[in-house]
């Protein structure tokens, strides 16, 4: 063959599927081998697919392989990455342990409970550090140190502790972790992620108000305070013990344990919370054709929309943010701008009654600096200006005169929330919770706003002076009060980026919101 025949995309797809699944027929394999011999271009494509296949396999297949029961009867340097970005050091720790701690702790088939440790004996190894800055610790903090029972106080950076049972814990500073025993730790405050192989089943982490007993899994914990701990399970199961409460949690479960004593302790189970949102856009998709917003949303002035990197962290945050760049297209004689307001229009999506809005956004300033137009509404839930706005009223949430603000209009009148100060050029987490208490009594309705810049939180809680609008079924708009071009409400266009926006048809609790916003370790 003088000239290699070019594989069509479909043919290459079939061949690559056969290669990757081991189902290639002899004839196809021969044809592919012949082509690969002759075409450097095809070799590059072929290697690129295999490389990607390997990277995906390596980075995503974690627990099944790490939990596999390959015998470890000798200090064999069998390396495999564990969950977590730095967990290659688990393998290093295995090696170091094998060589430096007589291998017995890890390589023996004896269950961890059968190992008797004296208080001064090492119960763990500091198997990795990454930009770690240490506070007062009662155990050595040099990489590779054997750790006896004691406390690690990590000010910043991160570190990995491998317990002699085989359990591996990543901690993110600031964090205080106490090594209680070869298969037990206490988290005084901060964040940890634990990976527990089968041999360390039963690994226990205690926090002030809860204990988590692992049943062979991967989980994470955030000890916010003595009275609030978040526990999340990535794979497998854990047993959660909080006073008299015992509950088995499965992969995907997130629980906020609040309260210090048995009498006031509550479990706020946020099972599949992120997935239960009525509407959720995280704006991560980017296709060559441009914005790919799931129907039935319509884009208005998408020439003024684009993507921007978003900060990582939280259950919903990831990847891209949608950037809104409204512009003043003309300035009128009186100084008022005619503004092109870009955004998303979702027909028939506004709702009344109990609901929760959660969003993460970057505010870049006003679309029009005219003093009369110093507003940038992020969302319009059925208020006037939205096509088909209902008589029942609606609300706007966004920026008004340098503050987070909620404006609501009902047949009984309008309401403006307390304002929470904002600064342009920052990312914010914001939640608005409308709670009608599930009854017909408008007097007990509440509206609560949460605003969380990194590291602090502002809260505005109201007994709604007007009932939460009960009926609303017109359009929902994201990006402004009125989308398109105009010189009135169009000027109140949101300028900045939205990482995600989610709506639930119920009032979420503060701890549920916290578990959604908090970054995993």
């Amino acid at each position: 063959m003088n000239r290699p025949a070019r594989h069509s995309d479909d043919a290459l797809a079939d061949l690559m599927a056969g290669v990757l699944d081991g189902s290639l027929s002899d004839a196809d394999e021969k044809a592919l081998a012949d082509q690969l011999m002759q075409s450097p271009e095809l070799r590059q494509q072929y290697l690129a697919h295999l490389e990607l296949h390997g990277m995906l396999r390596w980075s995503l297949l974690r627990d099944t392989r790490a939990l596999s029961t390959r015998p470890t009867t000798a200090p064999t340097p069998t390396l495999w990455r564990l969950p977590g970005s730095r967990s290659v050091w688990y393998a290093a720790a295995l090696l170091l342990l094998a060589v430096t701690i007589a291998a017995a702790l890890l390589m023996t088939s004896r269950p961890p409970s059968a190992i008797h440790h004296q208080p001064s004996q090492p119960v763990a190894l500091l198997s990795n550090t990454d930009h770690a800055s240490w506070g007062d610790s009662t155990v050595p903090t040099a990489l590779g140190s054997e750790l006896s029972r004691g406390t690690l106080n990590l000010r910043s950076g991160s570190a990995q502790v491998m317990f002699s049972s085989g359990a591996v814990v990543d901690i993110i500073g600031p964090c205080t972790l106490h090594m209680v025993g070869p298969n037990e730790a206490r988290l005084d405050h901060g964040r940890l992620a634990a990976y527990v192989p089968q041999q360390a089943r039963g690994f226990t982490v205690n926090a002030a108000n809860v204990s988590v007993v692992d049943l062979g899994t991967r989980f994470y914990m955030l000890a916010h305070s003595a009275s609030l701990t978040t526990v999340g399970v990535d794979t497998g199961h854990v047993q959660l013990v909080a006073g008299d409460i015992r509950r088995t949690l499965a992969a995907g479960d997130i629980v906020a344990v609040s309260g210090e004593s048995d009498s006031d302790r509550t479990l706020d189970v946020a099972l599949g919370l992120a997935n239960s949102a009525r509407l959720l856009w995280n704006f991560d998709t980017y296709e060559a054709t441009g914005l790919d917003i799931a129907a039935p949303a319509q884009l208005v002035r998408n020439d003024l929309l684009g993507f921007a990197p978003a900060p990582a962290g939280g259950q919903l945050a990831d990847g891209n943010a949608l950037r809104f760049a409204p512009e003043v297209v003309e300035r009128q004689d009186d100084g008022a701008g005619i503004v092109a307001c870009a955004g998303l229009l979702i027909p028939q999506a506004a709702r009344g009654g109990s609901q929760t809005l959660l969003t993460r956004f970057f505010w870049a300033g006003y679309a029009d600096d005219n003093p009369e137009a110093k507003m940038g509404w992020i969302i319009n839930n059925g208020l006037r200006g939205a096509p088909g706005a209902a008589a029942g009223g609606g609300w706007l949430l966004g920026i008004r005169h340098d503050a987070l603000s909620l404006h609501m209009t009902t047949p009984a009148g309008s309401f403006d929330s307390e304002r929470l100060t904002l600064t342009p050029g920052r990312w914010y987490d914001v939640a608005a919770v409308f709670d009608d208490r599930g009854d017909a009594d408008p007097a007990n309705d509440t509206i609560t706003l949460y605003l969380r810049p990194a590291g602090q939180q502002q809260l505005a809680s109201h007994t709604a002076p007007r009932p939460v609008p009960a009926e609303a079924n017109p359009s929902l708009m994201i990006g402004g009060e009125s989308l398109g071009v105009g010189d009135k409400n169009h000027r109140k266009a949101f300028r900045g980026s939205i990482d995600y926006i989610a709506l639930w048809d119920r009032a979420l609790t503060e701890s549920q919101l916290q578990s959604l916003i908090d970054a995993r370790p």
Partner: protein, 178 residues
């Protein structure tokens, strides 16, 4: 922090190059389990050789060389009848794959970003295939779709990821409205 001892240095280098070694080996043996076996064999050889030769200047290059021999030995025993394992082709692929290692760390970082840009349904498929280690055939049965159609879908996802990686590395990332 104490300076690592030579042993620690070796362990660090060995662990740091695991992903790249795996990618290299997989590109030659294609099969993920077989690649893992060869990787372990390679690690053993490196471990033993490190004792004889404690100071290695270019660790990755050395490890790749060792893994190449291990692949050839492995396939010599087990892959006589495979067209994709014929020595002349393996030689070409081994050279190309070694050349590709140069930018692999950048591509890996870009991949993490690109995964975030997949649609929900694409992400679910990738999760099932790679995180849950399901076979294409099983996924197809669950979806009541022909296996070929699902395999094509995976190909398209991989291709879009490759395009995204290329695009990401080819352009400077912007800033968010700052």
């Amino acid at each position: 922090m104490n300076e690592p001892t030579p042993n620690e240095q070796f362990v660090r280098q060995l662990t740091e190059c695991q992903q790249n070694l795996y990618a290299y080996i997989l590109s030659l043996v294609q099969d993920v389990d077989r690649a893992q076996d060869v990787l372990q064999e390679t690690n053993l050889v490196l471990w033993r050789k490190a004792a004889e030769e404690p100071l290695i200047e270019n660790f990755l290059a050395w490890a790749i060389q060792v893994s190449r021999y291990q692949v050839m030995a492995h396939l010599r025993d087990r892959g006589r009848d495979r067209h994709l394992y014929q020595p002349a082709l393996l030689e070409l692929l081994a050279n190309d794959a070694a050349d590709r290692l140069e930018g692999i760390d950048d591509r890996r970082r870009a991949l993490q970003k690109c995964l975030g840009k997949l649609t929900q349904s694409q992400r679910e498929l990738i999760h099932r295939r790679y995180a849950r280690n399901e076979k294409v055939q099983d996924i197809a049965e669950g979806m009541r779709r022909p296996a070929g159609a699902v395999a094509q879908k995976f190909y398209r996802i991989r291709k879009s990821l490759l395009t995204c990686i290329e695009r990401t590395l080819g352009s400077n990332s912007g800033t968010a409205d700052a």
